[in-house]
């Protein structure tokens, strides 16, 4: 099939917008919910400020369920929930619901593991000086793990670009979906190449930008 490049350009712009919309919503969710969830799992862990086996187990269990279920299945299983939250089960906003859930769980794990990198002695020192838990989180845990949190955020964002390709299942659109529909189903190899190249560029750009931010923030 002949490729009409001006049509393709429009399709690409639309697809990029959809990808950005889906990833944007999910990443905001990761920040707003993933960081607190990661902190919560970290602090309820063994020897930590809020040590509590049961709540820690529940937190870890939920995160693991989400992370171990293949995304495509999660997408389908969550359809009723998506309908409830987004008012529709089709389109990029609807696809953002399962994507957000995955990114929250994914990022929470990464947040937890970067918090583990924080020197326990510094936490002990802050406790010894009489710091409240909230202040320890705000002035010790978060700034001390800033580089790790940023790195994790970039990893989450890049993974989301990949996950969002599956959003085509529910008509979510996006560049991954474009590559599959035109490049794969319709044998328009050139379209596939262009989209894949653009995705590579996008991911590379995100990674470089992330590395730059990490370097700038790291004072160690």
């Amino acid at each position: 099939m002949e490729t009409n490049y001006s049509v393709l350009l429009n399709d690409l712009i639309k697809a990029f917008n959809e990808t950005f919309l889906m990833c944007g919503i999910s990443l905001v969710a990761a920040l707003v919910l993933g960081i607190p969830l990661g902190i919560f799992i970290f602090l309820t862990g063994k020897g930590m400020l809020w040590e509590n086996k049961i709540t820690n187990f529940i937190g870890c269990f939920i995160v693991n369920i989400v992370r171990s279920t293949p995304f495509i299945i999660l997408l389908v299983v969550l359809l009723p929930f998506t309908q409830l939250v987004a008012g529709t089960a089709i389109g990029p906003v609807a696809a953002s619901v399962p994507l957000a859930i995955v990114s929250v769980a994914f990022y929470a794990r990464l947040v937890e593991s970067s918090l583990h990198e924080v020197d326990k002695g510094v936490i002990e020192a802050a406790t010894a000086f009489g710091a409240s838990h909230l202040r320890i989180i705000k002035d010790v845990l978060l700034p001390e793990s800033r580089a790790g949190l940023l790195r994790g955020f970039i990893i989450t964002a890049i993974s989301l670009v990949g996950y969002s390709a599956m959003a085509g299942i529910v008509g979510g659109g996006g560049i991954g979906d474009l590559a599959i529909r035109f490049g794969y189903y319709r044998y328009q190899t050139d379209v596939m190449f262009i989209t894949v190249a653009l995705i590579i560029l996008l991911v590379q750009g995100m990674q470089s930008f992330g590395d730059y931010l990490v370097k700038k923030s790291d004072k160690k």
Binding site: G121, A125, A126, T127, A128, F129, G130, S132, V140
Partner: protein, 336 residues
């Protein structure tokens, strides 16, 4: 000022529980520098942490200023901690904050206003002599400088008690010396009650007034440091002190049978008396000094000599008797 009353701390373990501190009771006086010495695993660090309740005792009570603090919680516990500074072996500075911000952090916790912080941080930096490093990050400081920041952070809020957990164990000998000097200055200037944990008797010797020797969770002995050095009551303490004073003879002396070596300890006023020369004159014996040292502990001299006496048997016996009566302590460490 600080009083431990039958403190025991047990760490539960699946197989068998571990008793880190075993029924310890003693008191630390206001304004003194008190040392707790012992090898690793002796329970000293665990005991220290009961003073600000980083570690809660399994049983027993801790009193600070005659107040039983053992069950303090929440806001009361926080208030107690504001009055107790702490210095750590690994410094434990916040790496993402500058020296200034690290100290300001401790003051913010204490509820100081921005105005107060602006005067208190430079004050603390001046005490530790690091005024020009205010805007440096910990990564760019040497070990000694990091510990000075740690000390500045601990005293910025002008607490009454300063806890030091192996404050010099990560430092080289020269830096150790200067950090100890600083701790002593701070103690004298502010009258801050200081508790120092260490495994080095040398640290104790330099700055402490009194010392508790711990091993296996128990306090073996507790006294003025001079007394502990002059007459250690326990084998473990003797080992620690010998290691510090280090009077080691080459094997060619100690291997010989029937080669009698006397260890003479003299202290205080007697250190300056000429017992040795008098012995030689009075009893017609030859005295061969193999090793010797005078340590000044808390400004008081403590002398230790390893000598060998030669001469006819009667003279030697009488000379030994004379030395025994006129020095603090004399014992035969080799031979029959």
């Amino acid at each position: 000022m600080i009083r431990f009353e039958n403190i025991s701390i047990v760490f539960p373990d699946k197989k068998r529980s571990f008793k880190a501190v075993d029924d310890v009771s003693f008191e630390i006086k206001k304004g003194e520098i008190f040392g707790i010495v012992g090898s690793s695993g002796a329970g000293k660090s665990t005991l220290l942490r009961t003073i600000n309740l980083l570690q809660r005792p399994t049983s027993g009570n801790v009193y600070v200023d005659e107040q039983n603090i053992t069950d303090l919680k929440g806001e009361d516990l926080r208030k107690l901690r504001l009055n107790i500074g702490m210095v750590f072996q690994q410094f434990n500075l916040i790496r993402s904050k500058t020296v200034y911000e690290n100290i300001a952090f401790a003051l913010k916790i204490a509820g100081k206003t921005a105005e107060e912080i602006k005067t208190l941080v430079p004050e603390a930096l001046k005490v530790v002599g690091l005024t020009e490093k205010a805007n440096a990050y910990p990564a760019n400081l040497s070990g000694g400088q990091k510990q000075r920041v740690g000390i500045a952070r601990a005293i910025a809020n002008k607490p009454q008690i300063l806890l030091c957990d192996e404050p010099t164990s990560a430092l080289d000998p020269e830096t150790t010396e200067s950090v100890l000097k600083l701790l002593k200055e701070i103690n004298e200037k502010f009258g801050i009650t200081t508790v120092i944990i260490t495994h080095e008797m040398n640290v104790i010797k330099k700055i402490c007034n009194r010392v508790a020797v711990m091993s296996g969770g128990e306090v073996l002995e507790l006294d003025e440091i001079f007394n502990v050095f002059a007459s250690p009551g326990h084998e473990f303490t003797k080992g620690l002190i010998n290691h510090t004073i280090n009077l080691e003879l080459p094997e060619r002396f100690t291997e010989k049978d029937n080669y009698e070596i006397l260890k003479i300890v003299y202290k205080g006023d007697k250190a300056e008396e000429a017992v040795i020369s008098q012995t030689i004159r009075k009893f017609n014996v030859d005295m061969n000094i193999l090793h010797g040292k005078i340590e000044y502990i808390s400004g008081k001299p403590l002398g230790i000599l390893l000598v060998r006496l030669d001469g006819n048997v009667n003279d030697v016996t009488r000379a030994k008797e004379y030395i025994r009566n006129n020095t603090y302590k004399m014992n035969v460490i080799n031979g029959n």
